[in-house]
């Protein structure tokens, strides 16, 4: 029977979380490490950093691909797709969703800011050194940024709506938001959604350093320090954060674990500058206000903000301003923390990783702190939950992502009922 409910009558819940970060190759490992304040920033090992301008990053510890992919399949995928497949597998297992059985109604949207960067770099080397006839036939299907969504759907049998969204560092958040809207308008009963990025490559380090976005600090203990007066740029991280979003009645009917409700998604563009935030963080504030309006709540209902908090001088200052614009005086009493202080900036994965953190915060009624925050900055004067996790009652939490190009996305999650 056709479902004739309006989009605002369909509610969407989160029934599974998969998470790979620099502090843990799995959901519970990552989450417990974040609560414990573990630092995932370490000297780079995936590539030789000796001539590179940055020498530390957040690399994901060794993870087991073999339960999802055989060796031959794995060789034909870039590392960002590996991260996506493993995170999606973990999320699907937790949800207990039989993806293959209902595959026509289950879609997949996984954001990646770049795609298979290391594959491309290897093939450039082949092209320059050995000539075009030696280029791999798998270059194109390994590099293109939609391949995480493509391969996850192939691996798990999700035949519904499928693409990847790219909006730089907001890619993961926009994939989740677009997946939410897809369920609300009745085009799917569940979506595998989030972000994945394998950003630790020579070109990526060189290019982000050239744009003066990366920290020049080689000390892993202080390089990523969002909101601290001594911050001087972000630290690259890799990872994946994937959620199973499900139409609420479908989840209830099959007795699925409901970890949180996905209340709303707000999106805006600064239309201002390619790398700098708009004045007073106007664009980011607008995304937050749209999300609040769509959730049918006011700023005072938000109990925690997981900030974009990259640790660049500009981002943290303007994000603080935008939070003040939205929350007014109440801004000073809302805890705001940055996951990037421990796992680095996972670029297109960040929105997925941080949404996963928000869902786990609601589940456990605990939030992690902003680490390496030692010297207060007068421009950043909110409660950043410095250096310690905190237990508190949480009903609504917000995750913000802001990207190069002036993309802003804000997601609101709500504590599961009952």
């Amino acid at each position: 029977m056709p479902d004739e409910r309006r989009p605002d009558e369909r509610r969407v819940v989160v029934t599974g979380v998969g998470l790979l970060t620099a502090v843990g190759a799995g959901r519970e490992a990552s989450w417990q490490a974040l609560l414990a304040g573990t630092n995932g920033i370490r000297p780079i090992t995936l590539i030789d950093p000796s001539d590179l301008p940055a020498k530390v990053a957040g690399e994901v510890p060794e993870f087991d691909l073999t339960q999802y992919l055989d060796r031959k399949e794995a060789r034909r995928m870039d590392r960002f797709t590996h991260l996506a497949v493993v995170a999606a597998g973990e999320a699907i297992e937790q949800s207990g969703l039989d993806v293959r059985a209902e595959g026509d109604e289950i879609g997949c949207m996984i954001g990646a800011g770049i795609g298979g960067m290391s594959t491309l770099e290897e093939e450039f080397k082949v092209l320059f050194e050995k000539g075009p006839s030696r280029i791999s036939p798998f270059l194109v299907p390994m590099f293109i940024p939609d391949m995480a969504a493509g391969q996850v759907s192939i691996r798990f049998g999700a035949r519904g709506p499928n693409f990847n969204t790219v909006s730089a560092c907001a890619s993961g958040a926009d994939a989740l938001g677009t997946a939410l809207e897809t369920i609300k308008r009745g085009d799917a009963i569940a979506m595998i959604a989030g972000g994945a990025e394998a950003s630790v490559t020579r070109m990526s380090v060189a290019a982000f350093a050239a744009s003066r976005a990366l920290s020049r600090n080689d000390d892993p203990e202080t390089a990523s320090r969002p909101f601290d007066a001594g911050r001087d740029g972000f630290v690259l991280g890799e990872g994946a954060g994937i959620l199973i979003l499900e139409e609420r009645e479908h989840a209830v009917r099959r007795g699925a674990p409901i970890l949180a409700e996905f209340a709303s998604y707000g999106q805006s563009a600064d239309a201002f500058h390619v790398t700098q935030p708009s004045e007073n963080g106007e664009g980011a504030a607008r995304a937050m206000n749209i999300a609040l309006r769509k959730a049918g709540i006011t700023a005072s209902d938000i109990d925690y903000v997981n900030a974009h908090g990259t640790s660049t001088p500009l981002n943290d200052k303007f994000e603080t301003l935008s939070i003040k614009t939205v929350f007014g005086e109440a801004a000073y009493s809302i805890p705001v923390s940055s996951t990037k202080s421990m796992v680095g900036h996972t670029l297109g994965a960040a929105g997925g990783v941080e949404a996963a953190v928000c869902v786990l915060s609601l589940r456990d009624q605990r939030i992690h702190g902003t680490h390496h925050l030692v010297t207060p900055d007068p421009d950043c004067d909110l409660d950043y939950v410095p250096n310690e996790s905190r237990e508190l009652p949480l009903t609504y939490v917000m995750s913000n992502s802001l990207g190069f190009g002036g993309h802003n996305s804000s997601l609101i999650f709500k504590r599961a009922e009952g």
């Binding site: 940024p145 493509g150 035949r159 499928n162 693409f163 790219v166 926009d174 982000f208 239309a271 201002f272």
Partner: protein, 411 residues
């Protein structure tokens, strides 16, 4: 749900850099495939492609910005300028917060990356351009266009391999339908003609070979041998009907429905039975509340590979049943090439234009029927026929599919 209409089209294709020139070549069946001139092709047996000609980048963006931009971004911006002018959209009079940009690209900034990789390898990491990161991303063009026109609404890029343009256009339409914006600049763009990508496709053995480039791509013909890369952009202005009527805009067609799906089968090959693209067609028709008899024309993906054209024909037969025999189905890829992430958007615009003009562009180079491909492919000559509703379908690496439907605007 708001009704959504198409009011502006900007096309940068191998047969023209605006909508009128491109449409005229499509109807005349004049192919834009020719020898590759963008890079040294001495290593290849049959180096042909659909290259954009006569587009002066200096007329698109100012010199300072031009130096930082990838070729793909130039196509996107030129397409957007064309679409906005075609729509007669006066941005200073619009509420920027209600105007968004959602574009698609399958691969992003290939040219810029190759150049900078050379710098990295030859001169070291400290010489890499500070503008690389912000200008190499698949969402760079969406950001640049938003900045140029003051579009502060929903803004991101979509990537789904060769189904990118269809997926992006469909998502933009859904954003207007659900009330999140009044106007969306949408579509797809691609600049795949760089040595590394060309070599990658060549290594996949998917490219067609022919003495006469204009005859290389032969969709649905028994002797078809593969596809040929094309480059360019297809950018559209979609808006809510209310908004279009309030400003007295010319309406090309009404957007009726769209869907995406995945075969969940293989990362390179499409499913033999076309079940994924069939599902996208069915769901787009369900959203539009249409029956098979309501569609008159399909602008097919029709790449000209043995597998694609057979699977697509099977899918159309499965979805349309007896109505498949009265459908007009054509592939415009022999004329404009396979424009990758731009293909779905350019072809969606062509589907809409067929409703507007009552003319269906032909499948050229069609001579020998294939028993597995037995539909009416509008062979070789354009057909004048009323088109009430037209669908564009796309199928991509990674198993992605998209379908989008436009309807004739009669009021």
């Amino acid at each position: 749900m708001a009704r959504v209409v198409l009011t502006g089209i900007g096309l940068i294709t191998p047969v023209g850099n605006d909508v009128a020139t491109t449409w005229a070549a499509l109807v005349a069946g004049k192919s834009g495939i020719g020898p590759i001139t963008h890079f040294d092709t001495s290593a290849y047996e049959c180096p042909i492609a659909g290259e954009v000609r006569g587009l002066d980048p200096a007329s698109v963006v100012e010199a300072k910005l031009l130096r930082r931009l990838d070729q793909s971004s130039i196509f996107a911006i030129a397409g957007a300028q064309g679409a906005i002018a075609d729509a007669g959209l006066d941005m200073p009079r619009e509420n920027g917060k209600r105007v968004g940009v959602v574009l698609g690209t399958g691969m992003g900034a290939a040219h810029l990356l190759v150049d900078q990789q050379r710098v990295l390898d030859e001169k070291g990491p400290r010489r890499v351009s500070p503008f690389l990161t912000s200008h190499m991303l698949p969402d760079t063009a969406t950001g640049l266009i938003a900045i140029a026109i003051g579009a502060r609404g929903p803004n991101f890029a979509i990537s789904a391999a060769c189904a990118t343009g269809g997926a992006a256009t469909g998502e933009a339409a859904e954003i207007i339908a659900s009330g999140r914006a009044d106007v969306m600049i949408t579509g797809g763009y691609e600049a795949p003609l760089t040595p590394v990508y060309y070599a990658g496709f060549h290594a996949m053995r998917a490219l067609a070979v022919a003495e006469d480039p204009t005859k290389a791509v032969r969709p649905f013909d028994a002797d078809r041998s593969g596809f040929i890369l094309g480059e360019g952009a297809g950018i559209m202005v979609l808006e809510s009907l209310e908004h279009a009527q309030a400003r007295g805009a010319r309406i090309y067609a009404e957007w009726l429905g769209a869907a995406t799906s995945n075969d969940a089968y293989d990362m390179v090959a499409a499913a033999e039975d076309g079940h994924g693209v069939a599902q996208a067609m069915r769901e787009a028709m369900a959203e539009a509340h249409l029956q098979p008899g309501d569609i008159d024309y399909i602008n097919a993906h029709g790449t000209g590979t043995a597998l694609n054209d057979r699977a697509e024909t099977t899918a159309i037969r499965e979805v349309f049943g007896a109505d498949a025999d009265r459908l007009m189905v054509s592939s415009t890829k022999p004329i404009i090439g396979h424009m990758m992430g731009a293909a779905g958007a350019v072809e969606a615009a062509i589907a809409a234009l067929s409703c507007y003009h009552g003319v269906v562009p032909p499948t050229i180079n069609y001579h020998t029927p294939d028993p597995d491909c037995d539909l009416d492919y509008v062979p070789n000559v354009a057909r004048t026929a009323p088109v009430r509703r037209a669908m564009s379908t796309s199928v991509g690496l990674g198993g992605h599919n998209s379908a989008i439907i436009f309807g004739r605007w009669d009021q």
